[in-house]
Every structure is written in C-alpha cells, then in structure tokens.
Amino acid sequence: MADHGTAAATHGGGGGHATVRTYIQVAIALAIITGVEVATLYVPGIPNPVLVISLLVMSAVKFYLVVGFFMHLKYDHGIMRALFVGPLIIAVAIILAVMALFSAFLLLPRPH
C-alpha cells in the first residue's frame, strides 16, 4: 500500500514535489507580498503607472508561487504545464484584446 501511494504521486506526472517546509515558506512569502500590496495603496504620492505596474508584478509573483509550488506545476510533467500555460496566455490575450477594443488602457490616459 505504501508503494501504491508513492506510485499514485508518480502517476500524476510529477518528478517530485515540495516539502512541508517549502509550503510554509511560500505561504509566508504570499502573506508578505499581500501585505505590501495593500500597504502600497495607502502610500501617498506614488505615480499611477508605477503603482499599477508594481501591483501587477506582485500579483504575478503570487500567481507563480501558488501555481508553481502549491499546484506542483513547477515539478509536473511538461504536458500538464502546456495544458495550463497555453490557455493562460490566451486568457491574457483576451483581456488585452477586449481592452484594446474599448480603448480601456490601464496605464494610458482614457478617452472621454
């Protein structure tokens, strides 16, 4: 049965995965980044483009940490990565395309 469990993990396609220690380190990093994100809102005088870019970068880092370590995609088979990352790229393209259609840019002045 013990071997069965190990095999079950192998069947998932993962060549290995993070330890509990890594999970806790990732959770601490996520908590710190979230705290910084919220705190950034209350810092006066940050130019809007800088604020937007820094928030998007922090969000992307959090996204990567959860997908890579908690979802084990960093350790998973390339097919699994392709199944998720491909549509994710299309999703980002959809967001950019719809925004472009309506001239709704995050960083540029909006037309009135």
Binding site: A8, G13, A27, V66, H72, L83
Partner: protein, 201 residues
C-alpha cells in the same frame, strides 16, 4: 521504483499512453479553459471600467480591509490544502481530514464575506446587477468566482465525509490532489481579481 511504477501503470486504467493520469490531465485542461472564461470576464470589467453613467463608483463602495482579509483567507486555505495532501501521502488520514475541514471552513468564511459585501452594496449603496455597467460587470465576475468557491467547499466537505467514514486513504492521493488543483485555482483567480478589480485605482 521506476520499474515498479512502470509495472503498476500497466494495470491502472487511469494511466494512459503518456504515463500520466487522465483525471489530472482533465483537471488541468478544465482549469486552462476556466482561465479563458475568467479572462473574458476580467477583460469586460476593465473595458467598461469608468464608463458607467450613473450609480456609485468602485471607490465609493469597495471595503479594502474586508477584501484583504478575504484574500488572506483564501491564501491561508491554499496552505492548509497542501498540508492535507502531504498528510494523506503519509497516510495520516485523520490529520488530512482536519486540514481539509480547515480549508473548507476558510472557503466558507470567504463566501460569507462575499455575501456580506454584496448585501452591503445592494442595501447601503443601491448598487445592483442592473444599476450600471460597473454593477453588472462587478457582480457577474465576482459572483462567478464565489460560485466556484462554493463548489470547492462542497467538494472538500465530500472528501472530509469520505475520510470520516474510512473511505479515503493514501491510495486516493490523486483524487485529493485534483480537488486541491481546483481549490488553488480559485485562489489564483482571486489573486488576479483582488489586484485588478480592487487594488488598481
């Protein structure tokens, strides 16, 4: 070990020619398609942002401390989810059930916070689905995310129920891992929504 896995694969109907579990591949494919679903909703929200001709604006209604607390809840629930998986891998089924229950409890708390937020918007700010472009795009996007979380909570509670009845052990690792993938996905969608909808001015 590799030989053992290869031998085992031959007898497991869930393992295909690629050597990968069909169920897990199916979940990743579903999550990829769900990315596009949420991408279209987020894109629509951003396209209409600031174009409402009436009604309250996001700045008027958003409660950032409450939403930050909800975001922290979902992030913490992702940690308990992986701890459940790690416990199950060690065949500590009761510990795994405890972590799964904690995950479901935090998910339920998140949903209740969202219900409270929606209630506040409707009753204190007169913001409803049909009030404005902001109302319709906001409620549809966050409402669909809340529905995903609710589905995840039900799924997790079913797993807890199976564990309590002695019908879950380390042989069911992949089943729990797939539920975990879904749960982490609702977390990463919220990471995007929290930043793009709530934090970016």
């Amino acid at each position: 070990m590799a030989d053992h896995a290869a031998t085992h694969d031959v007898h497991d109907p869930n393992i295909g020619n690629t050597g990968l579990d069909h169920r897990k591949m199916g979940m990743w494919a579903f999550l990829g398609s769900d990315c596009m679903f949420f991408g279209s909703l987020i894109g629509t929200y951003l396209a209409y942002k600031g174009k409402s001709i009436s009604g309250p604006t996001p700045h008027d209604v958003f409660d950032i401390p409450l939403t930050s607390y909800s975001a922290a809840l979902l992030l913490a629930s992702s940690l308990t989810m992986v701890l459940a998986l790690a416990a199950l891998q060690d065949n500590r089924v009761k510990v795994a059930a405890g972590w799964l229950l904690a995950t479901a409890a935090m998910g339920l708390h998140f949903v209740l916070n969202q219900v409270y937020e929606f209630w506040t918007f409707v009753h204190h700010h007169d913001l409803m689905l049909s009030t404005s472009l902001f109302g319709s795009t906001f409620f549809v996007l966050t409402g669909f995310h809340g529905a995903h979380v609710t589905g995840g909570v039900i799924w997790l509670l079913l797993l807890v129920s199976l564990a309590w009845r002695g019908k879950l052990d380390r042989r069911d690792y992949t089943k729990v891992e797939i539920a975990g993938l879904y749960w982490h996905f609702v977390d990463i969608v919220w990471i995007a929504i929290f930043t793009i909808i709530y934090l970016i001015p």
